[in-house]
Symmetry: D2
Subunit: 120 residues, 4 copies
């Protein structure tokens, strides 16, 4: 994976919001709404795209650029949520992956897209 250290991005985003006095709009409730809207803008790019074609972004640089833009927007709001909640993201993800490993043991989950509570 290419460079993706959110900590490096955090100060510039905080400053941007401060400069515009936007903190007043950034309640957690509003930020999660905004995050979900940005996700939907990413979904929109693929709603009529066949699955296989969705994997060939390299051959459609214009679309890849739009995906890049939406992924950036999502990340900006994710960072805002981290700033506001004080969540330690590395620890949160590591904890979740441990839970996932228990819910989806390899022997049972291998090659299956079933949800853990659908396994017999």
């Amino acid at each position: 994976m290419k460079s993706a250290n959110l900590e490096k991005l955090s100060p510039a985003i905080e400053q941007f919001m401060k400069d515009r006095d936007w903190d007043q709009f950034h309640s957690i409730k509003n930020l999660v709404m905004a995050l979900s809207v940005e996700c939907a803008e990413l979904v929109e790019l693929f709603q009529w795209t066949p699955e296989e074609e969705s994997n060939q972004l390299q051959s459609d640089p214009k679309k890849l650029d739009r995906v890049r833009d939406e992924v950036a927007d999502i990340t900006i709001y994710l960072i805002r949520i981290l700033q506001k909640t004080g969540i330690n993201l590395e620890k949160a993800v590591a904890d979740k992956m441990r839970q996932n490993a228990e819910k989806y043991p390899i022997a049972q989950a291998k090659g299956s897209s079933k949800k853990y509570d659908e396994h017999e």
Copy 2:
């Protein structure tokens, strides 16, 4: 912001998916759907919460834990999308922030939640 380097998290997630042979389900189309579903699970935690209360997660550790869980799920799918698209996230966000600075000049945007195309 606390530790949030996605690059550190990436290899364990890749291995987890490989162990379960889940790559076959992870087309970009499906991953963006899954990402949006996880975002909605975060929204669900705040749909009936007054804005002010949403900012007081520190006094509701049980809810903060659920927020942490959903933020982790969102991040896991975001990382999957980065792995599949090869997007350089730091560069993508820096580019987007530059665009945002142009769309929302301080003088005009200060204290306003209007979308850039709604400014007169």
Copy 3:
């Protein structure tokens, strides 16, 4: 509630799609994606709006028009999903309301926004 009989709207929508040969894009998977995207466009209109202000659409006719547009888009995809799945919507909602009445007995649920599984 004002006139809202989806059956009346259904034939014109079916014809519109047929005229454009869009049936090929309208798998259930794609239609639920499109529906969620339209919902997010409705959410976007309220992401920075205080709760109380969101209830005063009558005094903001321009915004009410945009809400109307998004609600229409949502309904169009909902109708497409009904056309494709053959679901009897009146029966489905009546059944769901019966389930909800069991999950949320008045004595317990009155004045509480807790999810049914959070009640002690």
Copy 4:
């Protein structure tokens, strides 16, 4: 399309909410959030489903039941939004279809999933 007259469903839903004193939580802002969450629960049912398989719900009655449930939830919140906004849904959809017919003339749109602003 099977019976889908939302007006018939409206009074029972209004009464249900009144009995539980839930009107206080149902600002438009909160209702659009709840609607988007229900849409995502519908998306979740199809996130790993191949497109073709998503069209064969008739051969998976258990899944069809879950789809039915989610479609009902979406409709309940849609009805709440109609009750609160006073939107005339039949007129709103008819107006939108007229706009769509202009944005997507048959000659240009036939067989194409491009967004209207992507046509050359």
